[in-house]
Structures are given as C-alpha cells and as structure tokens.
Symmetry: C2
Subunit: 374 residues, 2 copies
C-alpha cells in the first residue's frame, strides 16, 4: 500500500487521533492541514517558504492542471513534484468539485461529466477512467476518485443519485487503475457523498468501505450549510469510518472548523480560505479574523498576531503591512499569506500536542473562549 | 561626513573605479546597482531576499512615501529602515523627478512645485526646505537635493533655466539642513542637470561643486534620448566630477547601460526597469532580454538563465515559470524579479572584480559580443 497510517494516540473523550501517515515522499504528522496549490503553486508562496512554515503536504487541482499547462506538460517535466519544485508529498483532487462548480458549463451523465473550460470555452469530458489517467500522469502521492458533489440545499433524490453514482464511479476508478497498472505507488482515496442526509452518508461510506480504499474523504460539506449542520453530519459519519485509515475532510480550513474536525476524528483538511482571505487583507488572530485595511491599524506597531513566530510577525508591523495593502504592494499579500498559513500549521501542531498530552478538551475549551466569528 | 568613499582601484584605460562607500548602516561596494523600493518595498521582494541577492543599498521615493503612508507615519515607526524592515543603507530621492513626471498635475515656480496627488488629487507644495524636512523624517542614509528635471527633447533656454533653478534649490537644501540641524548623519547629494547640452551640464556641475556636496548625481538622463547621446553626455561630464566623491547616475539600470556607465566612472545606479520588466514576464540572459510567455518556452526545462545562481534558476524551469505567468500566478513574477535582480547584482560583482583585476576592457568586450538589444 502506498500510504500507511500509524495511530500514535487516540483521545479518550472525543474521536480525535494523533497519527503518522507514511508516504514515499515523507512522513506526514496528522491531523494535518494541507494548503492548496491550485495551479501547481500555493498562491504567492515558494516551496522553500512552505517548508519553513511547517507544511507537510500540499494539494493541487487536477481540473486546473489538465487545462493548463496540460497533464502531458507536467508529465514531461517528470511529474508535478519536479514541475513545481516541491519534494514533499502532494495530493491531487479529482476535478469532481471543480466541474460541479462550473454550473451551466457542465453536463453530468453516467459516463462522466462533459464541461467547457473556464479559460477558453473548449469542450472536455471527464470520466472516472480519464481522471485516473490524468492523475497518474501528474504523479501525486495521494489521488482522489472522481465523484459527483451536490449543492446545498438539494432534494433527497438528487443527493441519493449523486452518491450512488459516486460509488459506481469509485468502482470504475479502482478498475481503471487495476487494468492500466499505471503509477501503482499512488494511493487512491474514495470520497463519501450523501449531502446532509445521515442515512445517505452511511450508505455512501458502506459502498466505499466494501471496495477497501487506503483512505476515505468526506466530500460535499462546507458547501453553504451552517457549521452546526456540518458538525452533525460528521458526528454521525466519522465514528463509522475505518479506524486504521486516514480520514480527510475536503474543503474545510477555517481555524474553528479545524478544531471541531480534529475533535471529531478527522486526520486531513484542505482549504483555499487561509490563502485567499490573506490576499484580500484578512489575517488570523487568536480571537478571530481581522481586516488589515482597517484604519485602526494605521499606526499599530504590533505584529499581525503578537503570539505568532512567522517571518511576517517577527519582522513587520501591522502599520507597515496595512501600508502595503493600501498601496497595492505584492509584499503585503505575501506577508499575510505567510502568517495565515503559519497560523494554521501552528494550530495543527498544538492540536497534535494536545492529543498527545490528553489535553484536547481543555485546548478546545480555551480556543473557543477566545475565538470569535467576525 | 556621513558617507565616505575609498577608492580601491582606478582602471587605467577608462574612467572606471572600484570603491567602498562607508555609511553608518554598512559598507557599500561600488560600483553598485540600487533596486528601487518606491513605496517602502522593492516590489514583490522581502528584505531577506534582497540581502540574499547581494543587494547593498535600496532606494525609496520621497514623493510616494510623503503621500502614502505619510512621512509622519514613517517617522513614528522609527524611520524608514524600521518601517520596512531593511537594516542596510537606504537612499531617498527628492521627489523632483516624480513631480516632473506628473505633467499637467504640477506647476513649477521659483518657490517650488505645486502639484496634485496622483492618488486623490489633493494639492501639495514641495519646496527645497519642505523636501529636506520630509527626507529628514524618513531618515535614509543618503538623501537627494530637490531638483528640476527637464524632458527630452527640450529647448536650450528651458533646460538652462531648470539647471540654474536646480542650483539655487541645491543652495536652499543645504541652508535648510544647516538651519534646522535635523538628522545631520544623512549625506545630501547634489543633482547635476543640463539636459543634452554639454556646456549646461558643466555649468550645473560647477555650481554644485562650489557648494561641496558629499556626493554628486547625474539627473535628467535616460528620459527618452538615444543611449549613444547619454554616453556622450557622460563622456563630457564624468571626468570633471570630483574624484573622491561618489558619482550616481539616476534612473539607469539596463545591463548594457550599467557596463557603459561603470566604464565611464559611475559608482551608483538605480532603476525600476529590472523589477518592472520582471513583473511583465521579461527576464535577462547574457544575450539579452527574453519574454517568458513566448511559446518556445512551453517545454523548456532549462533555468531562466543557465549561468545564474539565483533561487529561481537553481530550482525552477522556464516551462514552469511560463506556466505561472500564463496562469497569472504571483510566484511567476516573484521568480522573475529574483532572477533579474540577481542578474544585475552579479553583473556588478563581475564588473567590480574586472576592475580589480585590470580586466574591465576585456570584460566589456566579451559582454557586448553576447548582449543583443531585443
């Protein structure tokens, strides 16, 4: 098997687990947050900076790389790792969520999804088999099965059909990999769908478990529902997931959701949020998200987050970074990105330590005493 | 005196000099290229990166910092060095060139220049006295006198009047600093004007030399004239400049002009070009400037410049950097900026070494055998 999870500790009062995920390109300490490098780059960051921030694995997008520069170009480079200069583990998603997000530009059939490129309008077809080919060419360490995501809210019947199709496509992904024999070192994870219907979630998970994937993802959450509903779904689902396999909650990455996801037994997370809000001038503090353009920071000589150890916080003031944003300077969004990523990698370090020390409940309590939605 | 130049070597066949400029914030090896940090940041770069690239001194713009965030904010930070997190020497220009560039938005009188902000249209007045106040508040190591630049082409009478006014303003700058006693550690450089008229240039230089500045700049070149005309002006002017004082050619920084300027005895250069063209996707090679978006680089796995030792060139391919530019990714312009700045700091290192080894003529010959205007 291409990845193996070793559980170092399980929390007695919650579902939380402290683990170690071994891949051919290094060991990932879990629970882990994975920054998103949509187009083979975590926006505004170098691989060297990511390493220094304590990033253990990055995610990249099959849909985007397929369209530009093309999987054949990445393959000609020797794969995604060499192409983007990142030696550590990489996970590629399957493009399922991206083509779902195209709305009117895509048409779903049993065969697959026909869609038009958001770049030039050209027509393309993603099938489970084709996606397995593309992901093999990109060469990530962990790859995702091609799935059908549903919106929120959605009718039960529609969600059921999407979840069942996702199971059939998962079978086809497995078969395609078996038949082609391509890149066997990659680990293929299945994706649980089923929207906000607990029984559909259970059915989807059971379908996938019968196929025995090396890891299981929860897709189709954080698509517009209340956070409390997402937590409810996780409460009903995660305890049923295989104990010895990694559990990955897709597209979730705000600090409070990371704490709640870890509490419920999730091992892996990804999200564009921390880097996207950074480019818009929002930075994380222990008491919530703040906007650097706010006039209150004009002569604030403190770091973005006085408790942070990142380059932005140890070297520059809020006043200076505000000036950079007000002036449209790239360094501003670089520093905010560095800080937000470090905020999350550090949060995960603390969560891991808290599990190890049997202190997760207390850590979570203290976290939410300070954290405010703003 | 706040800066002192020690000449280590003078080239026998040209006017070139190898020197060492001592400031309170460190020693600058000359000839030197100074990257421009218009708004208190060399665009897209961190101070740490600049240091690693071998940058010895950066330039920043009085006009821009006065408008945003305001000199009082920079002063409250403890000066420009602390504000922008750069511990090395800084030079601020006087805003003369910027207000000149405003065209219809400014009106020049003997008193000074009335202008409207390019940001919000608000009215402002720069006089020599006011500019000295602002530059003292910013706190750079080297500051420039307030001057009047002329366009090219321009009538002799207009150029003469501007050069004469520049001399009178230079006197007022000196007097203002004497009277205020502000920030005496700063070195104030005078700026020679006189357009493309050799006798006006000589007159301007003589005026300034009678005031005994610790350094002399050549302004009003590279404003649209042929390079050969710029070189002619330098040929007539530089030999008359004080031997023991630094000579600074303002706004010039393309690789070929650096070689020709050094050959003629210039010690300091600045220019936005290497960083600006980088953001537009142009990168320097030994044989000239190239455009990374060119289709020929789509699967070119070589570095931007195979002879370069920078982070961009030792880690990434042209194909990858092209992909970043085609995809609008910030990392693309970061890597191109790193490379272009390293190209220039390395060129200056080589020029310094060539002077030391009596090999400048040969170095220059070889440089122009390869370099092509593209």
């Amino acid at each position: 098997m291409a990845v193996t999870l070793t559980l170092l500790k399980e929390d007695a009062r919650s579902g939380a687990r402290r683990g170690r995920l071994r891949t051919e390109r290094g060991v990932i300490e879990t629970p882990v947050f994975m920054p998103v490098g949509t187009q083979a780059t975590v926006k505004a960051m170098t691989p060297w900076e990511l390493e220094r921030l304590g990033v253990g694995i990055v995610l990249s997008n099959t849909y985007h790389l397929y369209l530009r520069p093309g999987a054949e170009v990445v393959a000609a480079a020797g794969g995604l790792h060499r192409f983007m200069g990142w030696d550590g583990p990489i996970l590629t998603d399957s493009g399922g969520f991206q083509v779902f997000s195209l709305g009117d530009l895509r048409k779903i059939t049993e065969e697959g999804v026909e869609f038009r490129s958001h770049i030039d309008g050209s027509r393309h077809l993603f099938t489970p088999e084709r996606v397995m080919e593309i992901e093999a060419a990109l060469g990530a360490d962990i790859i995702m099965a091609f799935d059908e995501c549903t919106a929120y809210p959605a009718e039960r019947l529609q969600v059921k059909e999407a979840a069942e199709r996702t199971s059939r496509w998962a079978e086809r992904c497995l078969a395609a990999r078996r038949n082609s024999g391509r890149n066997p070192a990659q680990a293929l994870f299945g994706i649980v769908q089923g929207g906000m219907y607990p029984d559909l979630r259970r059915q989807s998970l059971n379908d996938l478990m019968s196929m025995d994937f090396p890891g299981y993802a929860v897709g189709g959450l954080s698509v517009g529902e209340e956070k409390s509903l997402m937590y409810e779904i996780l409460d009903g689902l995660v305890p049923l997931m295989p104990r010895d396999k990694p559990r990955y909650l897709m597209g979730v990455g705000s600090p409070d959701c990371l704490v709640e996801g870890v509490w419920r037994g999730i091992d892996m997370f990804d999200c564009v949020l921390p880097t996207r809000v950074a480019r818009n001038g929002a930075f994380y503090c222990r008491d919530g998200r703040r906007a650097i353009r706010n006039a209150q920071y004009k002569e604030d000589w403190r770091p973005l987050d006085p408790e942070c150890d990142c380059y932005a916080c140890t070297r520059f003031s809020r006043a200076y970074i505000r000036h950079l944003f007000m002036s449209g300077e790239i360094l501003g969004l670089r520093l905010a990105t560095i800080h937000n990523l470090r905020f999350l990698t550090r949060l995960m370090e603390e969560l891991r330590q808290a599990i190890e020390e049997d202190a997760l409940e207390e850590y979570r309590r203290r976290f939410f005493l300070r954290w405010k939605e703003r």
